[in-house]
């Protein structure tokens, strides 16, 4: 899976702000804030990634065990899907 292209993630004042750019603004509502791991996963999704690959990247990038990483990825992906943020 991949993220939609039509978003901008930018750290502003220490907060990760995710905003829709262009036509997608019509389908989404406003500005989303992402915590550090969510921003990390969003960046990973610039390329096509499976949930397993994302969990492995998360476990490697942060001090979390694989089971927790897999659970975090599952939750995050479900939220992305629910909000229409996946390509």
């Amino acid at each position: 899976m991949k993220r939609k292209e039509s978003f901008l993630l930018q750290n502003v004042g220490g907060e990760n702000l995710l905003v829709p750019i262009g036509a997608q603004v019509m389908d989404t509502s406003g500005i989303i804030t992402l915590n550090e791991t969510a921003a990390f996963l969003w960046e990973q999704l610039e390329a096509d990634r499976s949930e397993e690959e994302l969990a492995a990247a998360l476990a490697g990038g942060f001090e979390v065990d694989e089971a927790s990483a897999a659970a975090d990825v599952e939750t995050f992906i479900a939220e992305l899907r629910e909000n229409g943020l996946l390509a």
Partner: protein, 298 residues
């Protein structure tokens, strides 16, 4: 300058905006709200030209639709230009909700604009004094290091204070509490501009697009604080972290959602702003004593 055309200059948020129109056409007929902003700023942060053109034919936007906020305007992208379509009716009701009033064309840096309009009847006035001008300033201020915010603003004896928050949070009410006090100048009740200086610090400005005509003026002050408003049963003020301030202000800024590179610049401006100007959260009752509470943190 073509002798068949005349210019009127405005000073808005420290920018010089030149509105050019044919001399034989009242293309500069504007609402009174722009009158206090007539003239040229002493040291312009930018020079923006708006070339007013009359259209006899119905207006139709050019390019591909790229942003539709579900409001009175939509943004289209053409080959090397932006085209904003403004559709709302004026007081005459001469144009239905779906009728196109104006087309605002812009280059990528939003300093060379063309405003195409159709005169409808004697009650007609140009939308530079309303949505078209506001959109032009909202975009053209970004490359100068600024932002347009949903906020009221006062100059309290040389200390600029912005009050921002969702509709109904008390922005106009605050203005009423501050108005008339010694050394206080009200700048706007609804649309404030800000600009960070490369030398440090930031300034706040009134703009013509307040909720009520007559409450805004071309005035600026060094920003001492930005206050996010929330109604609450008890009065309390606390300083927000830059991260919390960024999240709060991003929702109250009029951002260029149609253009990725302009958005990146707008966020860079917001980053500088929240690291330069203290941002506070004021939970309060609607009572004049909150003026002293705000002054206690300036």
């Amino acid at each position: 300058m073509n002798p068949d055309r005349i210019s009127r200059f405005f000073s808005i948020a420290g920018m010089q905006i030149e509105l050019q129109a044919p001399s034989d056409c009242p293309g500069l007929l504007l609402e009174d709200r722009t009158d206090p902003f007539s003239g040229k700023p002493p040291r312009p942060a930018a020079a923006v030209t708006v070339d007013w053109r009359e259209s006899a034919a119905p207006l139709r936007a050019e390019g591909e639709l790229v942003y539709d906020p579900g409001a009175i305007w939509r943004m289209f992208r053409g080959e090397g230009f932006w085209c904003a379509e403004l559709s709302y009716a004026d007081d005459t009701g001469a144009v239905g909700k779906d009728g196109v009033r104006s087309l605002l064309y812009a280059n990528d840096t939003w300093d060379r604009l063309t405003l195409k309009e159709r005169r409808i009847d004697p009650g007609w006035h140009g939308l530079f004094s309303l949505g078209a001008g506001e959109l032009a300033v909202r975009a053209s201020i970004v490359p100068t290091g600024g932002l347009l915010l949903h906020a009221s603003a006062v100059d309290d004896n040389g200390r600029g204070v912005l009050f921002s928050g969702r509709s109904g949070a008390g922005k106009s009410t605050q203005l009423g509490f501050w108005s008339g006090r010694p050394g206080v100048v009200t700048m706007t009740d609804d649309r404030a501009a800000v600009r960070c200086s490369p030398e440090g610090g930031a300034s706040g400005y009134g703009t013509p697009w307040g909720g009520l005509p007559g409450t805004s003026r071309d005035h600026s002050a060094p920003l001492a604080a930005i206050v996010m408003l929330e109604q609450a049963p008890e009065n309390r003020i606390e300083r927000l972290s830059p991260a919390a301030a960024a999240a709060a202000l991003a929702c109250r800024a009029f951002l260029p959602y149609w253009d990725r590179s302009l958005m990146q610049r707008a966020f860079a401006n917001l980053e500088t702003l929240v690291r330069t100007v203290p941002v506070h959260l004021l939970r309060c009752r609607p009572e004049p004593s909150v003026v002293d509470l705000v002054r206690s943190v300036l």
